[in-house]
């Protein structure tokens, strides 16, 4: 059965349109310590509660999103275009939360 994912570009869409990559982690710098890379590639917190994940709207706008999902209830509290996080400038136009 299905839940709905609020895409900031397309509105609420069924979860079947999306691909989930996993935790929304920041990629370490290339010269970061090996421990930082081990954390990034292998280690996940798996918390109970709100968790930020990277979801791809594969069968929609094909944008990567940061989706805040509750791991206990699957409730999605928010979603935003992932590029807003790393681009430095918070672009809000066109993004409905």
């Amino acid at each position: 059965m299905a839940s709905l994912v609020p895409c900031p570009h397309c509105g609420a869409r069924p979860k079947e349109e999306f691909t989930i990559r996993g935790a929304a982690l920041a990629r370490p710098r290339a010269d970061a310590e090996p421990a930082a890379w081990m954390d990034y590639v292998y280690l996940r917190d798996n918390p109970r509660g709100r968790y930020e994940e990277h979801w791809h709207h594969t069968a929609g706008c094909r944008r990567w999103l940061v989706v805040t999902r509750d791991t206990a209830t699957h409730e999605i509290a928010a979603s935003r275009d992932a590029s807003l996080d790393t681009v430095g400038v918070k672009r809000t136009e066109g993004a409905r939360s």
Binding site: R21, A30, V41, E75, A82, D85, V87
Partner: protein, 991 residues
């Protein structure tokens, strides 16, 4: 005596006779009957055998919770096992068969299990069948499966259609009883988008079983009037025969509509079931309450029935339960039945009220015994008498029907589907819905509201509040006075739970479907399995198709008493979707057979088909595998010919399914430089380069060529299998990792037909249709340019790249021109010996050249493992995989490396997947040195050849090894060698 049809009354159409069969015996009923009511009207008390003890069982309820009357309906592909007779509408020609019986319903050998019952108690699976262990698989399990039964699935395909759909609304009302109808009417009049679902064929819920009058109308007429108004409202959608089965996050509700499960031959143009996903801003749960059985000896004998169900059969279907009826009640509701029976001329023999202080507003003629219980019921296949126990004195009363009224459990399942825990209420003697629901409200009996008037009012009031939250102007619908509703007496005495009935001698069943009786629960507590979740598993209480709808609360009450604690402290097991069983057909919808997954066909598919190609499924694609010719007797013969022809003359292969990604932007070069492990910044315009893509963990992810078509425009090819994955990956890199780079991506896989033209004659043939000079100087190895074809009629992209090791090109043309260009090339190439070749020959050609595919790029191979160590840049500041590629484990010299492998004797062979052992080493896991990743017969080498990943393989060329196939126990002496078997100097590429 047996049940029988009353001379008049009920909501059935006595002019419409319907014929049906039960276990092959022809019977008749009326339109409006359920299968259960029709069986009762025909005097069929015995309808099934119980799961474990094979005890005779009759119809217990009139609704969704029915544990006993499970039948197999229909035949062949339309066979539906475990159908509840209480939920199945009668239709002409219906064929029903009882279950869990052998050889027949009346004479059942399994009933001997009843004599063995001391050995079949709680936990008997774990105790009895533990030892000796070897007997489990051969003896115990098949025996239990056969004896335990339930229905059997048909082994032929279901001929009917199923579909899935979405719906959206402001207010979803679940249940069309008094509360639900009032809510839907209130919301409908306010202009909200309303969806009203009810699992029954007719709306009305308990109102259809009522004798009360509402606003002067009999309750069923009131329902009809209300439904007529709702049907006239365009903003109201009514879904009958639709069970809401789950509440999910995002305010999504699952519902199953049985569109054509009530007809003998469904119309082909419509589905038989629909799976709805309903997105509702707000939802109102008006599912009512389930009446609880009472746990006394022999409470499962046919003739014992729920009191509310008896009212339904009497009032709605015009079926009397028997001639001598007794009522055993722990609350006032039993008296409503008494009044209804008397109205039909059946004065109850006795009303046994467990409350000493009962004071019901009952003015009938039946004898009432208060402070008493029915301790036991007697009878075999039909009830004959009951034992009434009062103040230590027993009295036997001859009856043929007994009603149980053990209080009500609100049907809160959906309210608990998202993790909320039910709350025990001492005042209501029931588990109530979790208190902190968002988006879902309750009204009516599910909220413990009693009486028609109160339920109507609460439905209207709750809907109004929900509508106001959504900014609708709503006024609660009002209805006329309710008369004759016995439960709506002021201050009804609350149901006092009667868990442990005193004086019981026989088996007192808690869970009818799973044959769990009171003694089983006592045993579970004694043996330390008293926790509700453990007791469920130990006794099987609450399992199978009804999931304890009738039994769970009684089991919890009994566990509480046995443990000396409150039901609140026992708690419940977890309520999970689905509320009732959902067919696989509904869940699969149209996605089965050919429609299970989409089919992808290349733009050259029909061209290949015309040339007689045999196709092979690779992922979603149908690829041409080989092109057999007349006279060829095996696939190998065809493939060998195609391989030899490519190396001797020329071949044309469809490679359209390779992933193609257009990459544009001022930073496209920088982007490619970061996603590939090798350098891309200096790739000149008009050139292609082989690229290696790593994962962040340092393993190879995919490979392919990328060509620079103009300053800021590249086209990347990926492997067929990873085309979609690479596109997603690149988008991740562009959008998430480096959004500051100016780069745009577009998949163009489907837009181009692409063909490989390979072999010494390839240039000659291509030049006949390409305008530009293709000489080695003008268009050298790795040239990649747009070219014009057939004069200037068409433009395409030409790449001088080779997978076969021959002089080769890949020509891409707009997809729609693919077939005609392929035909033109075949025509131009005919004098030069061109032949089409498929992926089998392609595979042989690439293995002969030691080119890797995902057989070798298997997620555990590094670039160095496959001989691509120099393609991992040491100078680039960053690229995907750079940080981890140098980890000690990934540069360990003992790692498996790509190597060729040959049999010592060319007449012997080996298979992909075979393992490599050092010469003389025993075939053990410890001695395993790697395995063959690809193998094929090479017509050029004249034997089987293979590629393998073997420990230190790169430095062991020439070493003799043993090739071991452990599955077939085959040993082939072999030799490791250079993985390039043909033209190791790559001279053919550059001619």
């Amino acid at each position: 005596m047996t049940p029988y049809r009353l001379a008049a009354g009920g909501l059935i159409d006595r002019r419409a006779h319907l014929s049906f069969t039960f276990d092959g015996k022809p019977l008749t009923g009326y339109a409006g009957d359920s299968l259960a009511s029709a069986l009762l009207a025909n005097g069929r008390l015995l309808v099934g055998r119980s799961f474990k003890y094979h005890r005779p069982r009759g119809i217990l309820t009139a609704g969704a919770a029915e544990p006993n009357a499970l039948m197999t309906i229909g035949r062949d592909g339309r066979t539906e096992a475990n159908t509840r007779a209480t939920m199945q509408e009668l239709y002409d020609g219906l064929e029903a068969r009882s279950q869990s019986r052998w050889p027949s319903l009346a004479f059942d050998i399994g009933a001997l299990n009843g004599l063995l019952s001391p050995f079949l108690g709680a936990g008997f699976y774990y105790k009895t069948f533990m030892w000796p262990a070897p007997l489990w698989e051969k003896l115990y399990e098949p025996f239990i499966r056969k004896a335990a039964g339930l229905g059997t699935a048909a082994h032929v395909a279901d001929p009917d259609a199923y579909e899935k759909c979405w719906a959206h609304c402001d207010l979803l009302v679940i249940g069309a009883g008094p509360a639900g109808l009032a809510a839907a009417l209130t919301a409908g009049r306010a202009g909200a988008r309303v969806i009203l679902v009810d699992e029954h064929a007719a709306a009305g819920g308990t109102l259809l079983s009522e004798t009360a009058r509402i606003g002067g109308l009999p309750a069923p007429a009131f329902v009809a009037q209300t439904m007529a108004e709702l049907e006239a409202l365009e903003n109201v959608t009514i879904l009958l025969r639709t069970t809401a089965v789950g509440w999910y996050d995002g305010q999504v509700f699952g519902a199953v509509e049985r569109v054509q499960k009530h007809v003998r031959v469904p119309a082909a143009a419509r589905p038989v079931e629909r799976l709805w996903r309903i997105v509702a801003q707000k939802a109102l749960l008006a599912t009512g309450a389930e009446e609880r059985p009472l746990v006394f000896g022999g409470n499962d004998i046919p003739g014992v029935m729920m009191a509310g169900a008896m009212r339904t059969y009497l009032n709605r279907y015009g079926v009397a339960p028997g001639r001598q009826v007794a009522i055993f009640t722990s609350n006032d509701s039993g008296y409503a039945l008494a009044a209804d029976l008397e109205a039909q001329g059946i004065v109850p023999e006795i009303i046994v009220d467990s409350r000493a202080d009962a004071s019901p507003s009952y003015a009938g003629k039946a004898r009432i015994v208060t402070g008493a219980v029915v301790s036991d019921a007697q009878g075999g296949k039909a009830l004959s008498a009951i034992t009434v126990l009062r103040n230590g004195q027993t009295e036997t009363v001859k009856v043929d029907a007994l009603a149980m009224a053990g209080g009500f459990s609100p049907i809160i399942h959906l309210a608990c589907h998202r993790g909320g825990k039910p709350q025990w209420s001492d005042a209501q003697s029931a588990f109530l819905a979790p208190g902190d629901l968002v988006g879902l409200d309750l009204a009516g009996a599910v909220a413990t509201t009693a009486g028609i008037a109160a339920c109507l009012a609460e439905g209207a009031r709750t809907a109004t509040a929900l509508l106001e939250q959504m900014s609708f102007n709503a006024t609660p619908a009002t209805f006329g006075t309710v008369e004759g509703d016995i439960v709506s007496a002021p201050n009804p005495v609350p149901a006092r739970p009667l868990w442990t009935v005193p004086g019981v001698r026989g088996k007192a069943f808690v869970d009818f479907q799973n044959d769990v009786h009171r003694g089983d629960l006592d045993l579970a507590v004694q043996e330390g399995y008293g926790h509700v979740e453990l007791a469920k598993r130990y006794t099987t209480n609450g399992m199978a198709t009804d999931q304890g709808k009738l039994s769970n609360v009684n089991a919890i009450g009994l566990l509480a008493e046995a443990r000396g604690i409150s039901p609140a402290d026992v708690g419940t097991t977890t309520f999970r979707p689905f509320y009732t069983p959902v067919s696989f057909g509904a869940l699969a919808g149209p996605h089965h057979g050919h429609d299970f997954q989409p089919v992808r066909r290349s733009p050259l598919h029909d061209w290949a088909r015309r040339l007689g190609a045999t196709f092979v499924e690779t992922g979603l694609w149908y690829r041409s595998s080989f092109f057999p010719r007349v006279g060829e007797t095996s696939w190998r013969e065809s493939v060998d010919r195609e391989v030899l022809n490519v190396r001797a003359h020329a071949g044309l292969c469809d490679v359209s399914m390779l992933g193609k990604i257009e990459i544009c932007g001022h930073d496209a070069a920088e982007f490619l430089n970061r996603v590939y492990s090798n350098a891309f910044l200096k790739l000149p315009v008009g050139k292609a380069r082989y690229g290696l893509m790593l994962r962040e963990d340092g393993m190879i992810y995919d490979d392919g060529t990328t060509s620079r078509l103009s300053e800021n425009h590249y086209v990347m090819t990926t492997t067929t299998a990873y085309a979609a994955g690479v596109m997603n990956h690149l988008e991740y890199c562009a959008q998430v990792l480096w959004p500051d780079l100016d780069v745009r991506l577009a998949s163009s896989t489907d837009q181009w037909a692409q063909m490989a033209i390979a072999g010494p004659k390839a240039r000659l043939i291509l030049q006949t249709i390409v305008n530009e000079d293709l000489s080695n100087d003008a268009f050298p190895f790795l040239a990649a340019r747009e070219v014009s074809l057939f004069g200037r009629a068409l433009h395409g992209r030409l790449f001088r790249i080779s997978f076969s090791g021959e002089l080769a090109y890949e020509l891409a043309v707009p997809a729609g021109y693919g077939e005609s260009v392929a035909e033109a090339l075949m025509e131009a190439g005919a004098p030069h010996g061109i032949q089409p070749y498929g992926v089998e020959a392609l595979g042989v050609l690439r293995i002969e050249k030691g080119h890797v595919t995902h057989n070798e790029i298997n997620g555990t191979a590094t670039a160095a493992d496959l001989g691509f160590g120099k393609m991992v840049s040491t100078t680039k500041p960053d690229f995907i995989g750079k940080a981890m590629v140098g980890r000690p484990g990934l540069v360990d010299p003992e790692r498996a490396q790509l190597v060729g492998v040959l049999p010592l004797d060319p007449t012997t062979s080996f298979r992909t997947g075979s393992h490599i052992l050092a010469q003389g080493a025993a075939a053990t896991l410890e001695n395993d040195q790697g395995y063959v990743t690809s193998s094929a017969y090479s017509p050029h080498v004249g034997s089987t050849i293979g590629l393998a990943l073997v420990t230190r393989g790169a430095e062991r060329h020439g070493e003799a090894v043993m090739i071991w196939n452990g599955i077939r126990n085959e040993f082939t002496p072999g030799r490791l060698c250079d993985p390039v078997f043909v033209d190791p100097g790559n001279e053919k590429l550059h001619v």
